[in-house]
């Protein structure tokens, strides 16, 4: 398996960030994300990024801050380009015509920095929190919605599998690229898309089947039999 698969794995440690309550970590991720989405200014994006850098340092994981760049730069490039194009060519009705290229580049940069700050903040949460603690936290959170018919364990497992599938999809992209290269075929997004999609659907089905086979999510009456036993 590849390094992509390890990108979101827990890094054990005893730093203040590792020991911080899960709820607080979620709030920081939420605050960073809401800030950079709702207030698109260069200073705000840089400040959010600085906070995330400091938190990586406090966690003893400063070397991890730039690690996602190596794999995710195409995604950030697409985000930046999309923003730049929308600034230059897709102007709201009534706005002065003519592209302001310099301002568009700055705005695209702000979006890219903001997205990276939010992404690395979320990743830091995953790096500093053991998987079972994440599951427990999500289960407690989704428990609030039980009156609405939400099955807390099922919802928590769904989010967990979704997070786990991100590196898996990355690995599928790498393996498909290698398979294309081995056949002497040049890698293009169009050639990658279908095999990766098929592999991802297969993975989702197999994972769902495996979870069901393990009796997960389980029915409440089957839980904690040992704890309630006399």
């Amino acid at each position: 398996m590849t390094t992509f698969a390890r990108l979101f794995d827990h890094r054990p440690g005893s730093s203040p960030v590792h020991r911080a309550p899960l709820g607080l970590k979620y709030l920081v991720v939420l605050a960073v994300t809401v800030l950079v989405v709702s207030w698109r200014a260069p200073l705000v994006a840089l400040a959010a990024l600085a906070v995330v850098v400091v938190l990586h340092g406090a966690a003893g994981l400063i070397g991890e801050f730039l690690a996602p760049l190596r794999r995710l730069w195409p995604l950030l490039l697409v985000v930046g380009l999309a923003r730049w194009i929308s600034e230059v060519w897709v102007r709201p009705a009534g706005q002065a015509a003519g592209p302001d290229v310099g301002a568009a580049v700055l705005n695209a940069g702000v979006v890219v920095v903001g997205v990276y700050a939010a992404l690395t903040a979320a990743r830091l949460l995953l790096l500093t929190t053991p998987g079972p603690d994440l599951l427990d936290g999500m289960e407690r959170f989704f428990g609030l919605f039980r009156p609405l018919g939400v099955h807390p364990q099922a919802a928590a497992l769904a989010v967990n599998v979704m997070v786990r599938s991100i590196p898996w999809v990355g690995t599928a992209v790498e393996e498909t690229s290698e398979a294309l290269a081995a056949r002497g075929v040049r890698r293009t997004p169009q050639r990658l898309m279908l095999p990766v999609l098929v592999a991802t659907v297969g993975y989702a089905r197999a994972t769902g089947e495996a979870l069901a086979a393990r009796g997960l999510p389980d029915e409440p009456e089957h839980r904690h039999q040992e704890d309630t036993a006399p």
Partner: protein, 263 residues
């Protein structure tokens, strides 16, 4: 020989009564067997069995229905006709109860391991019986040690070898102490040493804890020969049913006779 070390175990009972499985065809040109509904293809038909042996093996060619048969045992597949009973429970109706006492090992352990590290995945299995995290962590550590994976609790599942992953998948399944253990080609992806290791683990399980019965599929005929009873599947039907060595001998003759055109 592995079989020399197998403990005697009193098995439960699995019954199939006229069980058939049909699924919708996905391609219009797919061969339709006589008697199946239009637009469907019959995967299994006429299964009428009572399995009481501790170790039951299912062999046959790819597409013969082996995996479908064992998926009936925990409700991953439901019969279109007939009735299945697993230790007194109907998997199609009492699915949660059946799954609570059935452990299922897949060919590829990576689809089965859904947590980042080995220890965390065992902990996931223990959530049903251990409410507190500290309890789960301690029980998971003990279980990993029991399965020879003691130093690997914090290791990413992607950093384990294929054999270690399959051993871990087995540990996550056995963490729930299942009454019935089902394994779908559990050694297909393993090298010889790990194959023998996983075979030993599986075959020795009936009689330990709550486990009373093991049902597995395999293409490894030496592994199949170690079963107390072996079913040979062909085109959705059980075409031979005997003790492991006899069934394997019969299956070898069938394959060779077909290859030489003598059938």
């Amino acid at each position: 020989m592995i079989s020399d070390r197998l403990p005697a175990a009193s098995a439960g009972s699995i019954t199939f009564r006229q069980v058939g499985v049909e699924v919708p065809t996905t391609s219009p040109g797919q061969e339709q067997r006589p008697g199946s509904q239009p637009g469907t293809v019959r995967i299994l038909e006429g299964l009428d069995l009572e399995l009481t042996e501790a170790r039951v093996c299912v062999i046959g060619a790819n597409g013969s229905g082996k995996s479908t048969l064992i998926r009936l045992l925990n409700g991953l597949v439901s019969g279109s006709t007939g009735q299945v009973s697993v230790h007194g429970l109907d998997p199609a109706v009492q699915t949660a109860e059946v799954r609570a006492q059935t452990g299922f090992v897949f060919t590829n352990p990576l689809v089965q391991l859904v947590m980042p590290t080995a220890g965390e995945d065992v902990e996931l299995s223990l959530r049903r019986t251990h409410a507190r995290r500290a309890q789960r962590r301690s029980a998971a550590a003990d279980l990993l040690t029991e399965f020879g994976l003691g130093g690997l609790a914090d290791r990413s599942v992607y950093d384990l070898s294929g054999g270690q992953r399959q051993r871990l998948a087995l540990a996550t399944v056995l963490a729930t102490d299942p009454v019935l253990l089902v394994a779908d080609e559990p050694t297909t992806l393993l090298d010889l040493a790990w194959t023998l290791d996983v075979q030993q683990l599986l075959l020795s399980r009936p009689g330990i804890g709550r486990c009373r019965q093991l049902v597995y599929t395999t293409h490894d005929l030496e592994f199949a020969a170690l079963a107390d009873r072996c079913l040979v599947m062909d085109r959705g039907r059980v075409v031979h049913d005997a003790a492991g060595p006899d069934a394997v001998r019969w299956y070898r003759e069938l394959v060779h006779s077909r290859r030489t055109g003598q059938d």
